[in-house]
């Protein structure tokens, strides 16, 4: 029998090793990081479908912005030459289409005098003498389409825009642009910014930072595990459970050819937080058993460990998996993947805990628990005393809980949503500094495209429609975060003025629609028709109004949209519908979807957890009591976010999943022990003390390990990971405290498991 078990254990361990090696090999071959943030978007969502169509109609693309600053003004030979050279170099890059590069060098200058109309470039050969430089300066100042758009109004900065397709950006490409641009530095300063860079860098930095931080997290966890488990073997196998389950999960992902998304890089983090618990609880039980039965054999010890602990461990795993699987309700594919694979990882961690840990004990022997100096008997232990104190402090705990929950609910009312990608970078990081710099000098780096779609052709040629569009632009531009805007109306105004010898009183939309049509024809014949294609479609049914915003935050976007929506009725009368497009808008919709999904799945998993607990413990009241720690944790998490002004974003929203996944584990272990001791002792006080001594301790260890591990992330260089670290740590702390205080108190007060028994 013993031999058989030993053989079987070896088999289990070897099988695990083989699968792990296979996983690593598969990962090496197929693992791919998805850095294109567009791939996160639910392509079938109507808002995305429309935006993608509009992007095609109007050639809407995000632009890399290269800014060149010369404090003594850009109108000198050297700076103008640099603008020309950088423009040409960008145009020659394989990833960029020639016509997608815009700068003072490529721009058309349409000027007119009484009898003539002149279409020319601002410069071709770089002007050298004072007079031509002065002329060029005047021409720029007189051209509203250029001044303040390609050259800043204080004339110290000029920008070069390179519009690129979404899927083109890579870190290598960015570096190439950066090193190319930096060659032109001095005395001019060169800045490189733009949404493609923000997105690209983000998608690249987040996993990179994770890669750097995870080993440190693991290291810290090892230390703390050693301290609490006081055994190398226990620490080693607890850790192995987590690491192997992570490897298998990513191996499966690779085998299914599913790329690694920024969200899924959080899976190791989740598995560390959740997976160590199984090992801790098992070894904790083993340790206590050995202490009580010092002469027990390996087989007896393992048998006791499994028979006493398989149920709560299984229950915690199931509830955690349910929490993750509920993420399938999300409309965002990477989040669905995250949910499914995190659930898979938890399942593996469970299997390994119940398989590998016993097998390892058979094969490598019992973990040698180091005796702590002055270890006392249970009766005198810290846990017993703590239990008595907690019971005594009942009223205070209740009041504190109510207060904390109250304040948190107030905090929740202040929670705001951020779709900002920029906010994920350090305030004084290059990316944000550059962004601020460009926002100071130009309209803004974030684009909101408003698509006006009429029913009939030529709708947007109508003078009254163009005037409404301009009026709308003016209203929106009043918002502090909106820098500039651009539409077909601006073209017509400019043409009207130019055709009337630059007289200011003609800087308006003419009343005659035929004249508008003729201006457009003239522009097509003399200017770059590509510019028109960006503001109006071929049939003049649809228009694209572009707003430049100085912030990529949902707040700024929503404010602008609120003003735009005021023009809905007026435009409706002309048969025009308002739609939105562009990456900024998509990010906004995406964030809303993500959060909607998160909140839905949170509520759903809460309900399911209550049902599961009710089934497991065969008492509805227990279902409700068990849900207390997670409910409190969730409320406190969101409350703290509101109070500390941490916005809900794609990363922070996922943290609520951990709240459920972990918080519920604490509750299950505690309640299960409480139930067992209640049945064994029939004494409420003793049950409480013993539960605290057994489960309370394991929960405490578990919380300690994970909090210590996640506090490491607070030192990450990547702000979202810092937030993640701080919030998960807080989550664990609240779950832990909630379980051993308020949940325990309610369990205690309610006399559950003691009702038919006289104490």
């Amino acid at each position: 029998m013993k031999e058989k078990l030993l053989k079987f254990s070896w088999l289990v361990l070897i099988a695990i090793l083989l699968i792990t090696v296979a996983s690593v090999l598969v990962m090496k071959k197929y693992s791919r990081l998805e850095t294109n943030l567009d791939k996160y978007m639910p392509e079938n969502h109507p808002a995305f479908v429309y935006s993608n169509k509009a992007e095609k109609w109007f050639h809407i693309k995000d632009a890399v912005v290269i800014a060149i600053e010369n404090k003594s003004g850009v109108f000198n030979y050297s700076t103008l030459k640099k603008i020309k050279d950088i423009t040409k170099k960008l145009q020659r890059m394989k990833e960029i289409k020639r016509t997608d590069v815009t700068s003072l060098y490529t721009a058309d200058n349409i000027v007119s005098s009484e009898g003539s109309l002149d279409v020319k470039k601002f410069y071709k050969r770089v002007p050298k003498d004072k007079e031509s430089l002065e002329n060029l300066k005047k021409e720029v100042e007189n051209n509203e389409m250029i001044f303040g758009r390609l050259v800043s109004r204080d004339e110290t900065v000029a920008i070069i825009l390179a519009r690129i397709d979404n899927d083109i950006f890579t870190q290598e490409f960015y570096n190439r642009i950066l090193s190319m641009a930096k060659e032109y530095e001095g005395p001019e300063k060169i800045y490189v910014a733009g949404r493609p860079i923000v997105e690209g860098t983000l998608a690249y930095l987040m996993p990179k930072d994770m890669k750097r931080m995870v080993p440190i997290v693991v290291f810290v966890i090892i230390i703390v595990l050693l301290l609490v488990l006081r055994s190398f073997k226990s620490t080693f196998f607890t850790l192995m459970v987590v690491l192997i389950s992570t490897l298998w999960t990513f191996g499966l992902m690779a085998a299914l050819h599913i790329p690694i998304y920024a969200v899924t890089t959080m899976i190791p983090v989740m598995l560390i937080a959740i997976g160590v618990a199984y090992g801790i609880h098992l070894y904790n039980h083993l340790q206590l058993f050995i202490k009580e039965n010092p002469n027990a054999s390996k087989k007896e010890a393992v048998h006791d460990m499994l028979s006493e602990m398989w149920k709560p461990v299984l229950m915690t795993a199931i509830t955690t998996m349910v929490g993750f699987i509920s993420l399938l309700t999300s409309q965002v594919y990477p989040v669905k993947y995250f949910g499914v694979f995190a659930a898979f990882g938890v399942f593996i961690a469970l299997t390994l805990s119940l398989g590998m840990i016993p097998a390892s004990i058979y094969v490598f022997g019992m973990p040698g628990f180091k005796k702590q100096a002055g270890e006392e008997s249970p009766e005198k232990s810290f846990y017993f005393r703590a239990t008595d104190r907690i019971i005594k402090a009942k009223p205070i705990i209740l009041i504190i809980t109510i207060l904390v929950v109250g304040i948190s609910i107030y905090g929740i009312s202040k929670v705001w949503i951020s779709s900002s990608f920029l906010a994920k970078f350090e305030k004084n990081s290059d990316i944000r500094k550059t962004d601020r710099f460009i926002n100071e000098h130009f309209g803004g780096t974030t684009t909101l495209n408003v698509i006006l779609e009429g029913k009939d052709k030529d709708t947007i040629k109508k003078p009254e429609v163009l005037r409404t569009i301009l009026e709308m632009q003016k209203e929106v531009e009043k918002l502090p975060l909106v820098g500039s805007s651009f539409s077909l109306g601006d073209f017509i105004k400019r043409m009207n003025k130019v055709m009337h010898a630059d007289r200011e009183e003609y800087d308006t939309i003419p009343d005659n629609q035929n004249l508008i049509a003729q201006y457009l024809l003239l522009y097509e014949m003399s200017g770059d028709p590509e510019n028109l294609a960006r503001v109006a479609d071929y049939k003049y049914k649809k228009a694209n109004v572009t707003f430049q915003l100085k912030s990529d935050d949902s707040k700024a976007l929503k404010e602008a949209i609120a003003v735009i929506e005021k023009f809905k009725d007026k435009l409706k009368k002309e048969g025009i519908e308002i739609h939105y497009a562009g990456s900024g808008y998509k990010a906004l919709v995406f964030t809303d979807l993500l959060l909607e999904g998160q909140i839905k799945s949170l509520l759903l998993s809460l309900v399911i957890v209550v049902i599961l607990l009710t089934i497991m413990f065969k008492k509805f009241s227990i279902g409700l009591i068990g849900a207390i720690p997670i409910t409190i944790t969730t409320i406190v998490t969101f409350g703290v976010m509101g109070l500390l002004n941490i916005p809900l974003s794609s990363t922070t929203a996922l943290i609520s999943s951990i709240a459920i996944g972990i918080g519920i584990d604490y509750a299950i272990h505690f309640i299960d022990r409480y139930r067992i001791y209640a049945a064994r002792t029939g004494n409420k006080e003793l049950t409480s003390r013993l539960t605290m001594y057994h489960s309370g301790r394991a929960i405490f260890y578990n919380a300690l390990v994970v909090i210590a591990g996640f506090m490491v992330l607070v030192f990450s260089v990547f702000p979202p990971n810092r937030t993640l670290g701080a919030l998960v740590s807080m989550n664990m702390l609240v779950s832990f405290l909630g379980t051993i205080t308020i949940m325990f108190i309610i369990l205690y007060i309610k006399n559950t498991y003691f009702k038919r028994r006289k104490v």
């Binding site: 095609k56 109609w57 020659r92 289409k97 020639r98 016509t99 007119s112 009898g115 003539s116 109309l117 002149d118 279409v119 020319k120 470039k121 030529d458 040629k461 055709m499 003419p510 005659n512 629609q513 035929n514 004249l515 049509a517 003729q518 201006y519 024809l521 003239l522 097509e524 014949m525 003399s526 770059d528 028709p529 590509e530 294609a533 479609d537 071929y538 049939k539």
Partner: protein, 261 residues
């Protein structure tokens, strides 16, 4: 008339031209000169239907009445828009000079503004009326401005063609090279491929219809497809009349204002 390829007339005296060829070995330049300098009618009247098709498949169709007359050192052209209705009677006049150093004179008349404006455009690489043709593509480029090399001879649409590679002498020119298919004997280019400054394939011109009117070979329908922008222009000439003796007063500002009759 010197315009080589597109909407303008492409003409040849078939008899004389083809008989002379005999055993003579032609160079690339010889062939391009034959195309460029071949005799042409003194004037032409036609209706031009210009269709622009963008990458979404949307179309803009314009109908234009045009008159062209060759004065030897200068070629004058006047165009009146007939459709769409909102630009009807907009007119455009162009005087193009033999002297390569002299820029074209251009005027535009907007009826809604009742004003004539001279347009000065210094740029030969400008696109013609929002189309995929630049002014140069329409035949303003002298053969001497490029180096020519016959790369092969082949049949295209049943015609014996010379395939000629044209490389500009000016390295900063908008095309790094073009490849032209010239029909032997007819001396018309029926296909041309354009490569941009970086050597990438940019656009392709095809003559979809060419007919012989009064002994002149005329490209009646040409298509230019810009593959990089996925934008296409089709220009079709209808009701072509040649050598009708268009009076000189046709090419005046007064006529521009008068509009289509």
């Amino acid at each position: 008339m010197r315009k080589a390829i597109a909407l303008t007339l492409m003409v040849i005296f078939i008899g004389a031209g083809s008989l002379l060829m005999g055993g003579e070995k032609l160079t690339g330049l010889d062939i391009m000169k034959k195309v460029y300098y071949r005799p042409s009618p003194k004037d032409m009247t036609a209706e031009l239907v210009m269709t622009l098709i963008n990458s979404n498949g949307d179309k803009r169709v314009r109908k234009i009445r045009q008159y062209i007359k060759d004065y030897g050192k200068v070629e004058k052209k006047i165009m009146f828009f007939i459709a769409p209705a909102d630009v009807r009677n907009t007119s455009f006049m162009n005087w193009s000079y033999d002297d390569p150093n002299k820029d074209d004179d251009q005027w535009i008349y907007l009826p809604a503004l009742k004003k004539i404006k001279r347009i000065s455009s210094e740029d030969k690489s400008d696109y013609f009326m929002g189309s995929d043709f630049t002014y140069d593509d329409l035949g303003n480029r002298l053969p001497e401005e490029d180096n020519h090399k016959i790369i092969r001879e082949e049949k295209l649409n049943g015609e014996d063609c010379y395939v000629i590679e044209n490389t500009p002498k000016d390295p900063d020119y908008m095309y790094s090279k073009t490849i032209t298919w010239v029909v032997k004997g007819k001396w018309i280019g029926i296909k041309r491929k354009f490569y941009d400054e970086d050597g990438e394939f940019l656009k392709e011109l095809t003559a979809e219809k060419y007919e012989n009117i009064k002994g002149y070979w005329i490209l009646a329908r040409v298509k230019m497809h810009n593959v990089q922008k996925d934008h296409t222009t089709v220009m079709e000439l209808k009701n072509i009349k040649v050598d009708t003796g268009i009076p000189d007063r046709m090419f005046t500002e007064r006529m521009m204002k008068r509009g289509v009759r």
